[in-house]
Amino acid sequence: MTTQFKVLERNYPRVDAYEKVTGRATYASDVYLPGMLACKLLPSTRSHARIVRLDTSKAASHPGVRCVVTGTDFPDFRFGSGALRDRYVMPREVVNFVGEPIAAVAADDEAAAQEAIELIEVEYEDLPAVVNPLSAIGSGAATVHPELENYEGYGFTLGHNVSTLLDADRGDVDQAFRDADVVVEDVYRSQGINQGFLEPMACVADVEPNGRLVIYASTQGPYQIRAALASVLEIPVSRIRVVAMELGGGFGAKLRLAFEAFPALLAMKTGRPVKLVNTREEVFTMNGPRLPVTNYIRSGVMQDGTIVAREAYTIFDVGAYLGAGPNSGIGHGIGAYRVPNFRLRSYGVYTNKIYVGSYRASGVADMTFAVESHMDRIAHELGIDPYDLRVKNALREGDVSVSGAVVPTNGLMNTLEAIREKIDWPRDLEDGHGVGLALCEWRSGSGPSTAAISVNDDGTVSLLTGSVDISGSDTSLAAIAAEALGIPMENVVVSKRDTDQAPYTGQSGGSRIVYSQGTAVQRAAENTVEKLTALAAERLGLPEDALGCEDGRIYVMDNEPQGLTFAQLAAASITSRGGPIIGTASLSSMPYTPVFAAQAAEVKVDRATGQVKVLRYIQAQDVGTAINPMAVEGQLDGGVVQGIGRALTEDQQFDPETGAVRNPSFASYLMPLAIDLPELENVLINVPAPDGPFGARAVAEPPGFGPPAAIANAVYDAVGVRIKELPLSGERVLAALNGQNAEIDFDVDALRRAEGVAAD
């Protein structure tokens, strides 16, 4: 590939590759401190109950046990992970789901801690519970949070179990539906999904001799953990240091405070380091996954395929607490299309299940499954080719997005075109084989970002950001710095994250790092060059505009051999000027930059078993400038495989009576293995983003959105059955082939009535 760049658009290994392949990378669970205690947790066995008695005396006197804490040992303070402050870090009186930790023990070793846990005596008084979100909305259902209206952050909702309501409206929807030639209506349901990160939640808490708390965390957001810990422990932020260790996968699950407060309080009470590492079962039963989503979607369409109206009602099960959100899904109810009139609603509904968490653009994958399956349904209703229908309605530059932002230049059409070419659409395949499409959209993530670059007197630079490395972002940030400074990658040293050292930054999530943090790095590099140039100008007795910057030196444009290297300038500045040269930049938000991807699945369906096999999976994504194409493709591969898991096998199941997680292990929650997968084909479309660093766009989220719909559409193409519920298990497909394809129950009129919209 020819490139205008010196560093970017080339493949290079990750800056942390050596530590990772040698087993030297240190994750939170790899932290062993002298005198360290082990922490274990006692989970609630009830879905909704009052704790009548919680007796820890036997546990406390068990040999090896150093400390036991329960909810009342924490300050009486409600915190929140999402929009509402709806939970205690450990429940004081009432438990709201099976698995909720109600006591924590610190002991000399794990065995003693676990024995002590089993000695804790609990007596519950059961309260009425509700598990199904569709019934939780109804007035007869038990109430999960009777005090909801008093919670901080509570806004307008329907009350009762409805925690949040998001809406978006445009135009005259009802009139547009009346004018439409055809109306297509569907209900889709997507399943509970676990993030499936390989490193269980882990944390070591220690107390410095001066009483300051140190947390070695497995987190995507060290500053967010610090802030939340300060609130729930009622200590000042300055008394907490969070060290972000190597992160063994998070995908959104490790954005916020999880269990760090338990070892923290135990460490404060014992003066000893305390380590908590969740078992895999605890990961599944205690830490928020994605919960099932039901999507009602209706479109008004003209005979020629033009979509004129869209209505979407989404019910997000949020479980016991709003662990994340409200969800971004609703804004994606029109997909990557121009729809002049829409009414979009999304309800977050409490139930007595494990609380909801974030996962790789929460809610959008559910919405994409609905919207992109629905697009094929419209195409078939009208007898239009599904590809042509997408092209006809796709957003163009200058259109207005759901949020009202104008769509800037982008590669949407190029992604569609690339997919068409790759699969040679339209394909006519033998029976049992099919091809399906999906179009995915996302935006590059924004949020507070900052970076500092200091120039070392050997000519290298140290890059300091507060962003935790997910998806190889350190490597990309180093590349951006190197490009902007005109030095090789190897000359950029990226520091590790520690809230004491790095400047504040937002969480690593939502595909924010490269786009927003990368911009901060680029600007910090530019600021560094300005400072180097100013010093060189002074030293050389020349005006700044006579100087250029290249290959690690500031040179005289009229006389290239004359100049000063970064090393010389750094040394000069340290001894004779204001000290080391440090360039900085900060920003709070970035302009709207969409990311589009088109995907196609080719499948084979076994009519005898209903088994779906993906034979080929292709994605074309507009990534803007590819900072490191190898890493970009790694993101595309990883994301799409998560999406294939969501489409076919992954299914977090809940007991319909108690809401308890029924399959809390990797043996029963089935994520894709190497043997399950087809060859993955990627096409990178490079339409530079007007605002991203050197034109880069976010990458990581959209790959996972498409597979459920693309595969469902391919299954329809193969055997003519439309599956509207995930996963597309053999059992479900077989039932549909046998004509037992149950429609999903959804009383949309009740929701319309509740907000005063005329039902039709």
Partner: protein, 158 residues
């Protein structure tokens, strides 16, 4: 009560006192202070704890430490020598076969054990060989590519 246990770990004889109920994984991490092998599940489902026991890949969380008495264990820490990375490690670096890295010690050990048995694998063989190793980040594409590249390197240099 802790019992004496003799293991040869990465070429070094170690005599340790280890709890009778400890798994080989816990023994390596807690007692031998080798944290390269990871505990992703402790139930034999993820492969992150894979090490070589007498040359064969095992999920060390399922092996009772004392049942490994007197055997030779190779962990991820034992692969690189003074001359640098092993061919498998090098291939993972060069082909971008890693992201968060938590599964990587296990994957590299599975691949290393497998290539000793079969230095001439098909891509399908590789997929089966690492079929017990979960990776949530990479989608396996680059991992498979890396193992194939390592196989070639091993063939060419042996």
């Amino acid at each position: 009560m802790k019992q004496p246990l003799n293991l040869n770990i990465n070429g070094e004889n170690r005599l340790m006192l280890v709890e009778p109920y400890y798994s080989l994984l816990d023994c390596l991490r807690d007692d031998a202070q080798l944290t390269g092998a990871k505990k992703g599940c402790d139930e034999g489902d993820c492969g992150a704890c894979t090490v070589l026991m007498d040359g064969k890949p095992v999920t060390s969380c399922l092996v009772l430490a004392h049942s490994a008495h007197d055997s030779a264990i190779t962990t991820i820490e034992g692969l690189a020598d003074v001359d640098g990375l092993s061919p498998v490690q090098k291939a993972f670096v060069e082909h971008g076969g890693l992201q968060c890295g938590f599964c990587i010690p296990g994957l590299i050990m599975s691949a290393t054990g497998f290539l000793q048995e079969n230095p001439n694998p098909t891509e399908e063989d590789v997929r089966f060989a690492i079929g017990g190793n979960l990776c949530r980040c990479t989608g396996y594409a680059r991992v498979v590519e890396a193992v194939m590249a390592a196989a070639q390197e091993i063939r060419e240099t042996s």
